[in-house]
Amino acid sequence: MMTVKLVGSLLFAVSGVVMAVSYSRFQTKKLNTIDGFISLLFYIKGQIDCFARPRSDILSTLPLEVFCACNCPHGADTLEEMVEASRIYLDEEPLRLVASFSSEFGSTFKDEQLRRCDYYISALSEERRRVFSEVQSKSRAGSALWICACVGIIILLW
């Protein structure tokens, strides 16, 4: 009986730590995803400004690191695919911004397209600042909650 209790307690403790770590990583991933899309927008802006490259060519030359940051480790053919792959990591407002950019990308002339890139970079950077300030506190709070919950269950079971 004691052995079972010990094993059970150990399992709860391990799961608590795992959940805490996963939650912390999830929060960090949200930040990395926004960073990824900001890098993507900078890259797109440069390709349009310097080379006026069509959208399909831009994505075919996008560095793999940016794809990975946007949760597409095997690459993507369209911006919509990248937005869909990142959906769970983006809050409402960043998701709205990247979805809006991908839907209107390529439908305007060069000067206007560059201005829109600037707007979305600025808006996403603002969202990044907000998410950054939340991530640390959420990670700590979430991790503590998971561990405390598991410790509490262990104590109850004993």
Binding site: I48, A52, R53, P54, R55, S56, G106, S107, T108, F109, K110, D111, E112, Q113, L114
Partner: protein, 308 residues
């Protein structure tokens, strides 16, 4: 579906270039195929008006009427969903597609002073489709050979006669040496400013370099200083500033074959830019062309020394 495909094959209509077919609405491309014309020179699409074809110089009206939104979507499709990539040429009134297809764009211009910054509310598109022809232009090659490759030739005619087609064929002949059994290929550089001369699909045995999208002045400088050209070919010259720059950069002695719009030699040389080139002796001869009705050209040559 099987019956429809067989019928399309039986109509004997040459397929339009893929870049054009992909962008057209199905009902328009289907009507074009059903007309049965083997060679279509132009497709003209107008918002809220009937579309038309140009076949052997004649205008053929179609039944299809496109909505304004459809015309805009066709342009966006031709631009591969990247309108910004074609901003510069759209503001000049055209876009160039793979295969030498040139699409004229008409709409409402957004201007900043004298500068066009964008074209909105696209109202019509005019798709000019190049076609392969039998080799022509031996006479131009013989002229050049007669000058011992020290002087160039200016080809002129009214619009739509086939100057670009002739230049394309001359470039192929000179760069392959095919115009005469005793001739070696020449290092030929084509300055394809508007993307119409289109050599991407030509043979692999051509001694040919293509400067696609380059302004003519810079293209000639690169051709002479970096590419060691033996002959330079470019299309549609005549602008005065361009002529001044051509004179300045053309002291290298490489012959230039070019084209210009004009009805006759008097009209040709009355244009300020071309007069400047004439006085600088850039061209040894001026060749007026007209179609012979069998896919070739008739030439009316005026030597430089015969001009006033």
């Amino acid at each position: 579906m099987q019956v429809i495909n067989l019928k399309r094959q039986a109509s004997g209509v040459d397929p339009l270039p893929e870049a054009v077919m992909r962008a057209l609405p199905y009902r328009l491309s289907d009507e074009i195929r059903r007309t049965g014309y083997p060679v279509i020179e132009e497709i003209r699409m107008r918002a809220s008006r009937r579309c038309s074809l140009v076949v052997s110089g004649r205008n053929i009206m179609l039944d299809t009427v496109l909505e304004p939104r459809e015309v805009s979507d066709i342009l966006e499709g031709m631009c591969q969903g990247s309108l910004y990539a074609f901003s510069d040429t759209i503001n000049q009134g055209y876009i160039s597609l793979p295969g030498g297809v040139r699409v004229g764009v008409c709409g409402r211009a957004g201007c900043e002073g004298e500068r066009i910054i964008g074209i909105y509310e696209i109202s019509s598109l005019s798709v000019r489709i190049p076609h392969k022809t039998r080799p022509v232009g031996r006479e131009i090659c013989r002229l050049l050979h007669g000058f011992k490759y020290t002087s160039g030739v200016l080809i002129y005619s009214p619009p739509g006669i086939g100057k670009t087609t002739l230049l394309r064929s001359v470039a192929t002949m000179l760069s392959s040496g095919a115009w005469d059994s005793d001739q070696d290929p020449l290092r030929t550089v084509v300055i394809d400013t508007r993307g119409e001369l289109a050599f991407a699909s030509e043979g692999s045995d051509l001694c040919l370099d293509v400067l696609s999208g380059y302004p003519r002045r810079q293209g000639i400088e690169i051709a002479t200083r970096c590419l060691n050209a033996e002959v330079i070919i470019c299309d549609e010259i005549g602008d005065y500033e361009e002529a001044m720059a051509l004179v300045a950069s053309h002291n290298c002695g490489v012959p230039l074959i070019a084209s210009a719009h004009a009805e006759n030699i008097t009209q040709l040389l009355s244009r300020t830019g071309l007069r400047l080139l004439h006085e600088a002796r850039i061209f040894g001869a001026y060749a007026s062309i007209r179609r012979d009705g069998r896919g070739g050209f008739l030439y009316d040559i005026t030597m430089h020394s015969e001009c006033f």
